[in-house]
Symmetry: C2
Subunit: 387 residues, 2 copies
């Protein structure tokens, strides 16, 4: 590519197509900015703006009040002894794995884990032992399966895994396993537990200490109404000294975070949204009620919600034989559903999917949820009349 | 901290104090957003907005045109075979070190390196051999010193270092060493060279291939008019396969980047500013002329610019005995200069510094530079009249 005015014309400012649509993309419902965060983004957009008065490290910046946020508010919010900002939940998971495990160690991971948990373990050069689930339709994880996986690692490698990880909830079915029980089983073997709360912290109340988790990973852009990339790592007990260890040559800089992480506007959006996030998790029961109502309505149209039932989270997975059948017959094939929803200004079900798909009802009000249900019904009727 | 309305009131939207000041903070002059980037930030601010049409990995997103940007525009712009977006220059350096070196290997690093290069090596558990410079006032790095450092590593460890790193320019004095010569010396020993261009790429023309660098690290929020955290890693030759290696279990995901890095508005600000950045590096000679003019004027006031002279970069380090003497006598002590500059709406010299400080003239127009010179003179006159 020659960088001339012709080739460069495709860059510059670009509009975002679906920005005013009703959004049910599980990746996006918890990351929509609050009005305060939108303002913060504009105010702090310039590179390194938060470093106007830097005393040497991100987590000790007093003005803006990043120090109070990281050292006071976040530990209280998440139930951890120490918290740091990361560039996302995956970076939080890698930071934990890289600092507490050695190359060649094993990590036990639930079979529903997000790919980034697996890739983080691969980057840290760890071996992975998967914890089974019971498959379709429940995708249930028996807490005892963690004990079996740990024992397998011990019998094969002669030592316990360095870490266990539980995705809470998983990103496909929105299942919330019995994390407390799993933590307790892991601790029987002295294996610490990392709880990946990318889809929970910031949407629902999460307290790592009450659950018994040693580590927690959080996503700002997924669930804390923040502009990404940004996340949080929370650490309990003695692990604080390991994960937050400082450079021997640069005593104010923490090695695992390369000194500073979210050195930009991203953290100011997280701080801006924080009061609203603290408030919204108090209404989690309403979110669950909405999700259950929505699931019931869709099942009434012939779809099947798999995973925990009744469901306990806004992220849900549906099998949709009715849409799949239509896709087999219509001209536009598997893209018909995406196009029909787009025409109705509904965004978030991946283009090309009809047989099954996931979605999220988080933060979508009852009126919009009803509109989505009506739209699904309308689309089914439209095509069923045709054949 | 109890999270009640009282304690939460310090969070939410927060104003940025010095946002409308003339800014000469070296960290910030190259990271000021273009109008296009400001618009992009607003448009793409929501978490995961760029993933509206994700095909599985950040670098292959077609809409917005991230794929073309990463695979076509950036390699051309930086003179590399492959480029990827990182969360910053430090993350780029860590990615290179972590992927090409093994724990316990040695990396040779210039003695003027940014702390994050050292901390990245510590995170990758590498040993560090420092390359000497000749100290005050030139801080000159003799290219042959790289050969000597490499030979020292060979004689002590029995094998060559895994990597050499050169900071280009360094972040204190703004010196631009003979990178081409250093690359050639490193290659005599088969040692690859990583050029840290956090303060150059996006301000001045940089072509890694012409220099002979195997790797390049770039900072979006420092030098590419981007909202952080964001950077670029550029890779040449066979190292592409190593640094960009894919997950054995998730073949579309690159391990070293945990799948995706800048999964938010940050990359849209980089893309938005890119045409302006391509344009501005064509005017680098004017920036250098401005820096030299400014340096001359300040020396006329009794300050001493150290480092390369005549200077070749906007980042400059000054010794200021005249301000130091004043600070010894006035009531406000070492904060007097900061306060005087603040009153004149000039930001960027660290509060408390008078004896020496660094600053940057990048993107500051001649009128504002003259105003700063006049302000310095006014402050000197004001206090010299007093004693």
């Amino acid at each position: 590519m020659v960088l001339d005015s012709n080739s460069l014309s495709k860059f510059g400012f670009i509009e975002r197509g679906p920005k005013d649509f009703i959004n049910i993309d599980p990746l996006q419902t918890g990351g929509k900015l609050t009005p305060e965060a939108q303002k913060a983004l504009k105010e702090w957009g310039d590179g390194y703006s938060i470093c106007d008065f830097c005393p040497g490290s991100l987590d000790i910046i007093k003005q803006p009040p990043i120090k109070d946020f990281i050292h006071e508010a976040l530990p209280e919010f998440l139930g951890v002894d120490g918290a740091r900002i990361t560039n996302g939940a995956r970076e939080a998971k890698f930071a934990v794995m890289h600092s507490i495990a050695n190359e060649g160690d094993c990590v036990v991971v639930d079979g529903l884990a997000h790919y980034s948990s697996i890739v983080a373990a691969q980057r840290a050069r760890l071996n992975i032992e998967s914890v089974e689930h019971n498959g379709n339709p429940d995708y249930y994880i028996d807490p005892e399966a963690y004990g079996r996986a740990i024992e397998k690692v011990i019998s094969e490698s002669g030592k316990p895994p360095a870490l266990a990880l539980l995705t809470y909830p998983d990103g496909n079915y929105g299942n919330l396993p019995d994390a407390k029980k799993i933590a307790s089983i892991c601790h029987e073997y002295d294996v610490p537990l990392l709880l990946n709360c990318a889809y929970s912290a910031g949407r629902m109340p999460i307290n790592a200490k009450e659950i018994g988790a040693d580590f927690i990973s959080v996503s700002g852009h997924k669930s804390m109404a923040s502009s990404g990339p940004i996340g949080i790592v929370g650490v309990n007990g003695d692990y604080v000294d390991t994960v937050f260890r400082k450079s021997p040559t640069h005593p104010v800089k923490e090695i695992e975070f390369l000194g500073c992480t979210a050195r930009g506007a991203t953290i100011m959006t997280m701080i801006a949204s924080f009061p609203a996030v603290v408030e919204r998790i108090k209404h989690w029961d309403e979110e669950v009620a909405n999700a259950r109502w929505f699931s019931e309505k869709l099942e009434g149209l012939g779809l099947i919600q798999v995973g925990d039932k009744p469901h306990n989270h806004d992220l849900m997975f549906f099998e949709a034989p009715v849409f799949y059948e239509i896709s087999q017959k219509v001209k536009k094939g598997r893209y018909f559903l995406y196009k029909e929803l787009k025409a109705r200004r509904i965004h978030g079900i991946k283009a090309g999917l009809t047989k099954y798909f996931k979605l999220s009802t988080f933060g979508v009000d009852k009126e919009d949820l009803s509109y989505i249900v009506d739209s699904f019904e309308e689309i089914i009727d439209k095509y069923q009349d045709k054949f």
